[in-house]
Amino acid sequence: MTAKVITVTSGKGGVGKTTAVANLATALAMDGKRVVCIDGDIGLRNLDVVMGLENRIVYDLVDVIEGRCKLKQAMIRDKHLQDMYLIPAAQTRDKNAVSPSDMIRICNDLRAETDFVIIDSPAGIERGFRNSIAAADQVLIVTNPEVSAVRDADRVVGILEAEEKGNPSLIINRLNPTLVKNNDMLSAEDVLDLLGIRLIGIVPEDENVIIGSNRGTPIAADGKSRAGQAFRNIAKRLQGVDVPFMDLTPQSGLWNAIQRFAGRK
Protein backbone atom coordinates (compact mmCIF):
# COMPACT_ATOMS: atom_id res chain seq x y z
CA MET A 1 0.00 0.00 0.00
CA THR A 2 1.23 3.48 -0.81
CA ALA A 3 0.00 6.50 1.08
CA LYS A 4 -1.01 9.74 -0.52
CA VAL A 5 0.79 12.69 1.05
CA ILE A 6 -1.44 15.75 1.33
CA THR A 7 -0.17 19.15 2.50
CA VAL A 8 -2.62 21.74 3.82
CA THR A 9 -1.34 25.31 3.47
CA SER A 10 -2.70 28.86 3.08
CA GLY A 11 -0.21 31.71 3.03
CA LYS A 12 -2.16 33.75 5.57
CA GLY A 13 -2.40 32.55 9.17
CA GLY A 14 -5.63 31.95 11.04
CA VAL A 15 -7.75 30.80 8.11
CA GLY A 16 -8.32 27.30 9.52
CA LYS A 17 -5.46 25.09 8.29
CA THR A 18 -5.04 23.19 11.54
CA THR A 19 -8.81 22.74 11.92
CA ALA A 20 -8.97 21.45 8.35
CA VAL A 21 -6.16 18.94 8.98
CA ALA A 22 -7.75 17.63 12.19
CA ASN A 23 -11.16 17.30 10.56
CA LEU A 24 -10.01 15.73 7.31
CA ALA A 25 -7.90 13.24 9.23
CA THR A 26 -10.86 12.41 11.50
CA ALA A 27 -13.22 11.98 8.54
CA LEU A 28 -10.73 9.78 6.65
CA ALA A 29 -10.12 7.63 9.74
CA MET A 30 -13.92 7.29 10.21
CA ASP A 31 -13.99 5.93 6.64
CA GLY A 32 -11.56 3.24 7.78
CA LYS A 33 -8.42 4.79 6.31
CA ARG A 34 -5.09 4.72 8.08
CA VAL A 35 -4.04 8.32 8.61
CA VAL A 36 -0.94 10.00 10.01
CA CYS A 37 -0.96 13.76 10.62
CA ILE A 38 2.30 15.69 10.81
CA ASP A 39 2.42 19.11 12.45
CA GLY A 40 4.86 21.08 10.28
CA ASP A 41 4.76 24.22 12.39
CA ILE A 42 7.99 23.82 14.36
CA GLY A 43 8.06 26.12 17.40
CA LEU A 44 4.33 26.92 17.22
CA ARG A 45 2.67 23.53 17.52
CA ASN A 46 -1.11 23.46 17.66
CA LEU A 47 -2.42 20.37 15.93
CA ASP A 48 -1.96 18.42 19.21
CA VAL A 49 -4.41 20.64 21.15
CA VAL A 50 -6.96 20.78 18.33
CA MET A 51 -6.91 16.96 18.20
CA GLY A 52 -6.96 16.70 22.01
CA LEU A 53 -3.65 14.80 22.21
CA GLU A 54 -1.46 17.36 23.98
CA ASN A 55 -1.06 15.27 27.14
CA ARG A 56 0.26 12.23 25.31
CA ILE A 57 3.32 13.74 23.65
CA VAL A 58 6.63 12.11 24.48
CA TYR A 59 8.63 12.49 21.28
CA ASP A 60 8.25 14.89 18.36
CA LEU A 61 9.21 15.35 14.71
CA VAL A 62 12.65 16.76 15.51
CA ASP A 63 13.38 13.82 17.84
CA VAL A 64 12.75 11.50 14.89
CA ILE A 65 14.92 13.55 12.53
CA GLU A 66 17.78 13.75 15.01
CA GLY A 67 17.59 10.04 15.81
CA ARG A 68 16.48 10.26 19.46
CA CYS A 69 13.54 7.95 18.81
CA LYS A 70 12.07 5.68 16.17
CA LEU A 71 9.35 7.01 13.87
CA LYS A 72 6.76 4.72 15.52
CA GLN A 73 7.56 6.14 18.98
CA ALA A 74 6.68 9.68 17.87
CA MET A 75 3.31 8.57 16.43
CA ILE A 76 0.57 9.34 18.98
CA ARG A 77 -2.56 7.28 18.53
CA ASP A 78 -5.89 9.13 18.65
CA LYS A 79 -8.13 8.67 21.71
CA HIS A 80 -11.09 7.36 19.72
CA LEU A 81 -9.98 6.39 16.24
CA GLN A 82 -7.77 3.31 16.04
CA ASP A 83 -6.00 4.21 12.82
CA MET A 84 -5.33 7.90 13.28
CA TYR A 85 -1.95 9.14 14.49
CA LEU A 86 -0.25 12.47 15.11
CA ILE A 87 3.44 13.27 14.82
CA PRO A 88 3.68 16.53 16.79
CA ALA A 89 5.95 19.46 15.98
CA ALA A 90 8.81 20.30 18.33
CA GLN A 91 7.87 23.25 20.50
CA THR A 92 11.28 24.41 21.70
CA ARG A 93 13.19 24.26 18.43
CA ASP A 94 13.12 26.44 15.34
CA LYS A 95 12.14 25.61 11.80
CA ASN A 96 15.77 25.15 10.75
CA ALA A 97 15.84 21.86 12.66
CA VAL A 98 13.93 20.33 9.72
CA SER A 99 14.87 20.24 6.03
CA PRO A 100 12.80 19.38 2.95
CA SER A 101 14.76 16.13 2.54
CA ASP A 102 13.93 15.15 6.17
CA MET A 103 10.23 15.52 5.36
CA ILE A 104 10.55 13.49 2.17
CA ARG A 105 12.38 10.72 4.05
CA ILE A 106 9.81 10.56 6.89
CA CYS A 107 6.87 10.54 4.46
CA ASN A 108 8.49 7.79 2.41
CA ASP A 109 8.93 5.72 5.59
CA LEU A 110 5.22 6.22 6.36
CA ARG A 111 3.99 5.46 2.84
CA ALA A 112 4.16 1.69 3.14
CA GLU A 113 1.84 1.37 6.13
CA THR A 114 -0.69 4.19 5.78
CA ASP A 115 -3.33 5.44 3.35
CA PHE A 116 -2.97 9.17 3.97
CA VAL A 117 -0.25 11.38 5.42
CA ILE A 118 -1.61 14.88 6.10
CA ILE A 119 0.86 17.67 6.74
CA ASP A 120 -0.21 20.84 8.54
CA SER A 121 1.93 23.60 7.03
CA PRO A 122 2.80 26.75 8.95
CA ALA A 123 1.51 30.09 7.62
CA GLY A 124 3.84 32.09 5.42
CA ILE A 125 6.08 31.14 2.52
CA GLU A 126 9.31 30.53 4.44
CA ARG A 127 11.30 27.45 5.44
CA GLY A 128 8.48 25.69 7.31
CA PHE A 129 6.18 26.03 4.30
CA ARG A 130 8.93 24.75 1.96
CA ASN A 131 9.48 21.74 4.25
CA SER A 132 5.77 21.02 4.33
CA ILE A 133 5.28 21.00 0.55
CA ALA A 134 8.47 19.05 -0.21
CA ALA A 135 6.87 15.61 0.06
CA ALA A 136 3.35 16.51 -1.07
CA ASP A 137 1.53 14.50 -3.72
CA GLN A 138 -1.36 16.91 -3.45
CA VAL A 139 -1.61 20.40 -1.95
CA LEU A 140 -4.80 21.80 -0.44
CA ILE A 141 -4.99 25.56 -0.04
CA VAL A 142 -7.29 26.86 2.68
CA THR A 143 -8.65 30.38 2.30
CA ASN A 144 -11.46 32.55 3.67
CA PRO A 145 -13.74 34.64 1.43
CA GLU A 146 -11.86 37.77 2.46
CA VAL A 147 -9.37 40.03 0.62
CA SER A 148 -6.14 39.34 2.53
CA ALA A 149 -6.66 35.56 2.68
CA VAL A 150 -7.44 35.36 -1.06
CA ARG A 151 -4.45 37.50 -1.96
CA ASP A 152 -2.08 35.34 0.10
CA ALA A 153 -3.61 32.16 -1.32
CA ASP A 154 -2.84 33.47 -4.81
CA ARG A 155 0.82 34.01 -3.84
CA VAL A 156 1.03 30.42 -2.62
CA VAL A 157 -0.55 29.12 -5.84
CA GLY A 158 2.08 31.10 -7.77
CA ILE A 159 4.92 29.55 -5.75
CA LEU A 160 3.51 26.03 -6.20
CA GLU A 161 3.32 26.66 -9.96
CA ALA A 162 6.93 27.87 -10.00
CA GLU A 163 8.00 24.77 -8.02
CA GLU A 164 6.01 22.54 -10.37
CA LYS A 165 4.08 21.10 -7.44
CA GLY A 166 1.06 20.28 -9.60
CA ASN A 167 -2.40 21.74 -9.39
CA PRO A 168 -3.47 22.61 -5.86
CA SER A 169 -7.10 22.29 -4.75
CA LEU A 170 -8.97 24.97 -2.86
CA ILE A 171 -10.92 24.78 0.41
CA ILE A 172 -13.01 27.90 1.01
CA ASN A 173 -13.41 27.97 4.78
CA ARG A 174 -15.75 30.02 7.01
CA LEU A 175 -18.16 31.06 4.29
CA ASN A 176 -21.15 32.89 5.74
CA PRO A 177 -24.14 32.17 3.44
CA THR A 178 -26.20 35.09 4.76
CA LEU A 179 -23.42 37.61 4.13
CA VAL A 180 -22.88 36.15 0.65
CA LYS A 181 -26.59 36.41 -0.08
CA ASN A 182 -26.55 40.08 0.97
CA ASN A 183 -23.53 40.63 -1.27
CA ASP A 184 -21.36 41.54 1.69
CA MET A 185 -18.99 38.58 1.35
CA LEU A 186 -17.15 37.19 -1.66
CA SER A 187 -19.03 34.16 -2.94
CA ALA A 188 -17.37 30.81 -3.64
CA GLU A 189 -17.72 31.62 -7.38
CA ASP A 190 -15.95 34.97 -6.88
CA VAL A 191 -13.04 33.32 -5.04
CA LEU A 192 -12.72 30.57 -7.66
CA ASP A 193 -12.83 33.10 -10.48
CA LEU A 194 -10.08 35.14 -8.81
CA LEU A 195 -7.77 32.23 -7.97
CA GLY A 196 -8.39 30.05 -11.01
CA ILE A 197 -7.77 26.70 -9.29
CA ARG A 198 -9.87 23.60 -8.66
CA LEU A 199 -12.39 23.63 -5.79
CA ILE A 200 -12.46 20.67 -3.41
CA GLY A 201 -14.79 22.03 -0.72
CA ILE A 202 -16.69 24.91 0.83
CA VAL A 203 -16.98 24.92 4.61
CA PRO A 204 -19.68 27.15 6.11
CA GLU A 205 -18.96 29.25 9.19
CA ASP A 206 -20.06 27.14 12.16
CA GLU A 207 -19.69 27.87 15.88
CA ASN A 208 -19.40 24.13 16.52
CA VAL A 209 -15.85 24.34 15.14
CA ILE A 210 -14.76 26.43 18.14
CA ILE A 211 -16.64 24.17 20.54
CA GLY A 212 -14.90 21.18 18.94
CA SER A 213 -11.43 22.64 19.34
CA ASN A 214 -12.23 23.68 22.93
CA ARG A 215 -12.91 20.04 23.66
CA GLY A 216 -10.17 18.60 21.45
CA THR A 217 -12.69 16.65 19.36
CA PRO A 218 -12.85 17.68 15.69
CA ILE A 219 -16.44 18.33 14.52
CA ALA A 220 -16.12 15.95 11.57
CA ALA A 221 -17.19 13.35 14.16
CA ASP A 222 -20.35 15.36 14.90
CA GLY A 223 -23.18 14.14 12.69
CA LYS A 224 -25.21 17.37 12.98
CA SER A 225 -22.60 20.02 12.29
CA ARG A 226 -22.74 21.60 8.81
CA ALA A 227 -18.99 22.30 8.83
CA GLY A 228 -18.43 18.70 9.92
CA GLN A 229 -20.48 17.50 6.95
CA ALA A 230 -18.46 19.74 4.62
CA PHE A 231 -15.19 18.23 5.92
CA ARG A 232 -16.55 14.69 5.56
CA ASN A 233 -17.44 15.52 1.94
CA ILE A 234 -13.91 16.79 1.26
CA ALA A 235 -12.51 13.58 2.78
CA LYS A 236 -14.66 11.57 0.35
CA ARG A 237 -13.39 13.64 -2.59
CA LEU A 238 -9.81 12.96 -1.44
CA GLN A 239 -10.66 9.27 -1.77
CA GLY A 240 -11.84 9.84 -5.33
CA VAL A 241 -15.56 9.74 -4.56
CA ASP A 242 -17.68 12.24 -6.47
CA VAL A 243 -19.78 14.03 -3.82
CA PRO A 244 -22.07 16.94 -4.78
CA PHE A 245 -21.37 20.30 -3.12
CA MET A 246 -23.65 21.19 -0.19
CA ASP A 247 -26.47 23.66 -0.67
CA LEU A 248 -25.29 26.70 1.25
CA THR A 249 -28.20 29.06 0.74
CA PRO A 250 -29.28 30.47 4.10
CA GLN A 251 -32.25 28.54 5.42
CA SER A 252 -33.09 30.08 8.74
CA GLY A 253 -32.27 32.99 10.95
CA LEU A 254 -33.92 36.17 12.09
CA TRP A 255 -33.18 38.20 8.96
CA ASN A 256 -34.84 35.60 6.78
CA ALA A 257 -37.84 35.47 9.07
CA ILE A 258 -38.17 39.25 8.81
CA GLN A 259 -37.85 39.11 5.03
CA ARG A 260 -40.51 36.44 4.83
CA PHE A 261 -42.74 38.46 7.11
CA ALA A 262 -42.23 41.53 4.94
CA GLY A 263 -43.22 39.50 1.90
CA ARG A 264 -39.83 39.76 0.24
CA LYS A 265 -39.31 36.03 -0.11
Binding site: E146, G158, E161, N183
Partner: protein, 83 residues
Amino acid sequence: MGFFSRKRSASSAKERLQLVLVHDRTDLTPGQLDELKDDLLKAISKYIEIDPEAVRIELEKDGREQRLVADIPLKNMPRHRAG
Protein backbone atom coordinates in the same frame (compact mmCIF):
# COMPACT_ATOMS: atom_id res chain seq x y z
CA MET B 1 -22.76 58.51 3.37
CA GLY B 2 -26.13 56.99 4.19
CA PHE B 3 -26.83 53.33 4.67
CA PHE B 4 -28.77 52.94 1.45
CA SER B 5 -26.18 54.64 -0.74
CA ARG B 6 -23.52 52.17 0.45
CA LYS B 7 -22.09 50.04 -2.34
CA ARG B 8 -22.26 46.35 -1.54
CA SER B 9 -18.85 45.40 -0.19
CA ALA B 10 -18.42 42.05 -1.97
CA SER B 11 -18.30 43.81 -5.34
CA SER B 12 -15.59 46.22 -4.25
CA ALA B 13 -13.65 43.32 -2.69
CA LYS B 14 -13.70 41.47 -6.00
CA GLU B 15 -12.79 44.49 -8.12
CA ARG B 16 -9.91 45.43 -5.81
CA LEU B 17 -8.62 41.86 -5.69
CA GLN B 18 -8.74 41.55 -9.48
CA LEU B 19 -6.35 44.50 -9.80
CA VAL B 20 -4.11 43.49 -6.91
CA LEU B 21 -3.70 39.90 -8.14
CA VAL B 22 -2.74 40.96 -11.67
CA HIS B 23 0.00 43.22 -10.29
CA ASP B 24 1.14 40.59 -7.71
CA ARG B 25 1.37 37.90 -10.38
CA THR B 26 3.29 40.00 -12.88
CA ASP B 27 5.42 41.67 -10.21
CA LEU B 28 4.66 44.96 -11.95
CA THR B 29 3.50 48.05 -10.03
CA PRO B 30 0.87 50.37 -11.55
CA GLY B 31 3.67 52.96 -11.95
CA GLN B 32 5.83 50.53 -13.92
CA LEU B 33 2.87 49.65 -16.10
CA ASP B 34 2.44 53.35 -16.94
CA GLU B 35 6.12 53.56 -17.91
CA LEU B 36 5.72 50.48 -20.08
CA LYS B 37 2.75 52.11 -21.82
CA ASP B 38 4.73 55.32 -22.50
CA ASP B 39 7.69 53.37 -23.90
CA LEU B 40 5.40 51.27 -26.07
CA LEU B 41 3.65 54.34 -27.48
CA LYS B 42 6.98 56.07 -28.19
CA ALA B 43 8.25 53.02 -30.06
CA ILE B 44 5.10 52.69 -32.16
CA SER B 45 4.93 56.43 -32.88
CA LYS B 46 8.32 56.21 -34.60
CA TYR B 47 6.66 54.25 -37.40
CA ILE B 48 3.01 55.18 -37.50
CA GLU B 49 0.84 57.99 -36.26
CA ILE B 50 -1.42 57.01 -33.39
CA ASP B 51 -3.98 58.79 -31.29
CA PRO B 52 -2.56 58.68 -27.73
CA GLU B 53 -5.93 59.57 -26.21
CA ALA B 54 -7.66 56.52 -27.67
CA VAL B 55 -4.99 54.00 -26.67
CA ARG B 56 -5.94 51.30 -24.20
CA ILE B 57 -3.22 49.08 -22.72
CA GLU B 58 -4.18 46.80 -19.85
CA LEU B 59 -3.10 43.73 -17.97
CA GLU B 60 -5.85 41.16 -18.07
CA LYS B 61 -6.39 37.89 -16.23
CA ASP B 62 -7.62 34.77 -17.96
CA GLY B 63 -7.79 31.94 -15.42
CA ARG B 64 -4.21 31.76 -14.15
CA GLU B 65 -2.76 33.33 -17.31
CA GLN B 66 -1.91 37.01 -17.55
CA ARG B 67 -1.90 38.93 -20.78
CA LEU B 68 -1.02 42.45 -21.81
CA VAL B 69 -3.82 43.62 -24.05
CA ALA B 70 -3.25 46.68 -26.26
CA ASP B 71 -5.84 48.40 -28.40
CA ILE B 72 -4.07 51.11 -30.39
CA PRO B 73 -6.21 52.93 -32.97
CA LEU B 74 -4.25 54.50 -35.82
CA LYS B 75 -4.87 58.06 -37.00
CA ASN B 76 -6.53 58.38 -40.38
CA MET B 77 -3.94 59.64 -42.78
CA PRO B 78 -4.61 61.30 -46.13
CA ARG B 79 -3.30 59.13 -48.94
CA HIS B 80 -0.27 60.40 -50.77
CA ARG B 81 -0.98 61.04 -54.43
CA ALA B 82 1.52 61.14 -57.17
CA GLY B 83 1.88 64.37 -59.18
